[in-house]
Structure formats: C-alpha cells, structure tokens
Amino acid sequence: MAGTIAGQDRRKAFMLLSPAYLWLTVAVFLPLSAMAYFSFLSDVPFGGKDWHFTIANYRAFFETGTYATLMWKSLKLGLIVTAVSVVVGFPCAYVLAKVVKGRAREALFLLVILPFWSNSLVRIFSWAIVLRGNGVLDRAVNAVLPWDVKLNLMFSPTAIVIGLVHSYLPYVILTSYLALQAIDDSLIEAARSLGAKRRTILWRLILPLAAPGIIAGAVLIFVPVVGSFMEPRLLGGRLGTYYGTVIEDQFVAVFNWPLGAALSFILLAVVLAILAAASPMLKRAAT
C-alpha cells in the first residue's frame, strides 16, 4: 500500500524525464552506435556497394603517421586556444565580478556575452578581412606607425588561434564570472584582515574557489576546438589541415564514411580520456 504513492511519484519523475532522454537517445546515443557500427565496415552499406566487416579503418590510423600527426596538431590547438582564453578571460571576469559595480557591471557583462548571439562564422570571416595582407589591421598599424609594417597574419596558425579565441572567449568569461560572483567579498576582506597579500589571496583563495568555473569554461572551449574544421579552413590557408578537416573531408568529399567514423571514434576516445583525466577537478566543478 505504501508503494502506490511512491510508485506514482516515480511515474511522474519518469514522465517528466523520458521526453528529454528519448530525444537524446534518438539524437545522440543511437547515432553514436550507428557510427560505431559504420567504423567497422569496408564501405558504405548503401548505393549497392559491396561491404564487409573490417578493422582496416582503425588500422589506417596507425599505419601512417599522418593521422596521429594531425591528431596531435588538433590537440595542441585545443590546448593553446584553451590556455589563451583562460589567461585572457579570467582577469576580465575578475574585473567584471569584483571591480565594476552596479548597473555598469550589468551592462558590461551583457556586452561581453552578446557576441554569443551573433554568428560565429561571420565573425571568423570578419577576422579574415581584418588579418588579410593589406587588410584592416595592416592599414591600421601602418597608419599609426611611421615605418612600413607588413604583419600579414592571415593564413597562419596565429590567425586560427586568434579566430578561435575570439569565438570561445565569452564561454570562459561567463563561467569564471559566475564562479567569482559566488565568492563572498567578506572572505577576501577576512583574508586581508589576516594580513594576506594580494598575490596570496589570488593564489590561495580566489583561484581555488573559482576553479570549478574556470575548468567548466575550459572544457566548453577545449572540446569543440579539438574538433574544429571550419576555422582552420577559413583562416589557416595551406596550414589549415587539421584532424577535424580530414574527418569533414571523409563525410563531405571523399565519401569514405567508415573511415570518417573510425577517425571520429578515435578522437572521441582521446577527448574522453582527457576529460576523464581531468574528472577529479570536473567533479568539483559540477557540484
């Protein structure tokens, strides 16, 4: 008899939860399973093609150094972009959360996260206009400096990093800001009353307390950057071949979906391994 109300309770939870999970099943879990299946095929199983099961797609990754090189290149890009975003974004979040007060803070905060609602592709393309040789940046620099400068940052890894940092910086600012704002000012005052220096307060108090926010932001940046292909293509020029662009090619041009699936799974495994290694910190971030 006690079971009925508890049972109803469980049914209600189930009814509220099931649409979301059903959706994720159709949109994420089943597709990932389908992709796992595909990664072991020799060719796409439609259009009347011959196919059989094989592990050749995974072997391809290890047979030449090409894919591993690109994987490392993409991981490095992810790390650099994440690091730059955190180093640039955290002080910005700190100023917003702890220095600026009142309505100005609200307005500035909005300004920082507003680019979220503008198209990231267009922003990347804008960088192309800015960075291009004889483009806006070169002209601006030459207008200020008396001697002739040719920066021509376009089509270089630097251009890719600039574009990606620009795209993802608001994430780390947002998460750090929320974490910093939750730190009670009286804690900082208490530390100062105990004679702590600014630097000590930063390292011993603020950074540890804000770490969950910083890490959450870092994950939000690292994951998409490792898989990015559009930014390297548009800003990287001949240097714009990354792991993501190779996967894109398999799906869009070469039509070797099984190889693309296998390459995707290897990337997924690497990303999940990295997230797992960082999970003790992530757990703190989740709570």
């Binding site: 959706w23 994420v28 990932l32 992709m35 640039v88 609602w117 704002q181 898989g227 548009l234």
Partner: protein, 261 residues
C-alpha cells in the same frame, strides 16, 4: 600600487577585451557598407548590398528558416529541459546521478562527431537530411544548456513552497504551473535564450544535416564563404547582430542573467 590604480587598470583591460570582441563585428558591419565586392580598401560608402539583400531570395529564405528552426528548437528544448530539471530536482530515485551524467554528451563530445554520427544514423534509418533532422540535432545540443541554467535557478527554490501548494489542494501540475514555474521563470527565459543562440548559431550539426536548397543561414554563409561570397552576407549578418542585440537588451531588462544582486 594603489587600489584605485588597479581598478583603473582593470577597467582599461576590460575595455581592451571588449575592443577585441567587437572589432571584427564592426569591421564586418563596415564592409556591408563598402562598395567593393572584394572587400577592397579604401572604404567607399554604398548601400548597394542592402538593396541587393532584399532581392536575394536565397539568403532571406535561409535567414527565415534559421529563425523558424531556432524558435521551434527553443520551444521544444526549453519544455523538455525544464521538465527534466524539475524531475531531477523534485524526485530521488536510484541511478539519478547516472541519468544526470547522461545529459551531457552533447557538450562533452565535439560537435563534429555528433553531427557526423547523426548524419550516418538519420541516413541509415531513412529520415535523411532536412529540417526535421536539423531540429532533432539542435534540440539535443540545446538541452544541456537549458538544464544547466534552469537547474541553477531551481537550486535556490524552497521546496516547502511546493508542499504548501499541495497541502492547499493543488495537483502536481497546478503546483508546477502556479508556484514552481513562476519562480524559475527567469531561469527558463535565460535557458530559452541560450537554446535560441545555440540553434541560431549552430553550424557544424546543420552543415551535416541540412538539405541542399533548404539550408540554414550559417550553412549558407559557410558555403558562400567557400564558394562565392558577397557583402550581402555582411549585410544580413549586420542586421541579425543588431536585431539579436536589441532583443537581448530587451530580455536583460526583465531577467538578470549575471545574477546581479
């Protein structure tokens, strides 16, 4: 170094970041008013690209489709996400932690992988590419954002209010509607705005899932960038950024995103 000096330094830094964030957007807007088709400098003012935009059926259709899809995605993702957040907040059951963790693959897996996986799956089961596939994908990507934002708001909700309402005879649905939802409404609105932004700006998943001739604006922009780009794209982007900023400012008046006290 005095506190005041540091505060000034901080503000200057903030200004620098804002400049970094907005400079390319401004350049883009400026180029939509530049006469040269090839973004040549020096700048020569022209409203031609806006004129041409009004006659560009393809861009306008893609923009309309993007907005339409984003609205549908926002409604679905906000509804599902809010329901799930409330259930996770209200009920305790075995396996809750695992279920919660399962909500986040869309964030923890690069979009490239989710997008290509969806392409394979939808192709395999016959849905194929097209708007339904795009909507299914976008909702999945937006869900975690809605759940995070709504759950954060729910965390500050006193459950006794729900009990009070039930003791007064309100059914679970009435409790949700009259007490819980009004309280978390700012969270729902913020979550909805995120869902809209995720969908409207989503390129990767749309790129793999949208059907030729039926693409969303970001996909059209990407193909245009790679296959033939005119400043009409700058024009439409400028309009969109201006409109979305206006909407955001409006929304900001009603909800406080920064959690400002």
């Amino acid at each position: 170094m005095s506190n005041r000096f540091l505060a000034h330094l901080g503000r200057a830094y903030l200004g620098l970041i804002l400049f970094f964030l907005y400079a390319p957007i401004l350049v883009m807007a400026a180029m939509s008013l530049n006469a040269s088709e090839f973004y040549q400098l020096p700048f020569k003012f022209s409203g031609e690209w806006y004129d041409r935009l009004w006659n560009n059926r393809e861009i306008l259709a893609a923009a309309g489709r993007s907005i339409w899809i984003a609205v549908v995605v926002t409604v679905i993702a906000t509804t599902l996400g809010t329901a799930a957040s409330i259930a996770l907040f209200r009920h305790d059951f075995p396996g809750k932690r695992i279920l919660q963790a399962l909500l986040f693959p869309p964030i923890a897996i690069p979009w490239l992988i989710t997008g290509t996986a969806m392409l394979i799956f939808f192709f395999g089961i016959g849905i194929g590419r097209g708007t339904p596939a795009v909507i299914i994908g976008h909702v999945a990507l937006a869900l975690p954002y809605v759940i995070v934002v709504v759950s954060a708001r729910l965390a500050s909700f006193d459950r006794v209010l729900e009990e009070a309402a039930r003791s007064l005879g309100a059914s679970a649905w009435q409790v949700t509607r009259a007490v819980t939802v009004p309280w978390i409404l700012p969270g729902i609105i913020a979550g909805g705005l995120f869902a809209f932004a995720v969908s409207f700006d989503q390129f990767v998943v749309s790129y793999f899932l949208s059907e030729p001739g039926d693409t969303t604006l970001p996909v059209l922009i990407y193909t245009s960038i790679r296959k033939g780009f005119t400043p009409e794209i700058n024009a439409i982007s400028t309009i969109i950024i201006a409109v979305s900023m206006g909407l955001m400012l409006l929304a900001a008046r009603f909800t406080k995103f920064g959690g400002d006290r």
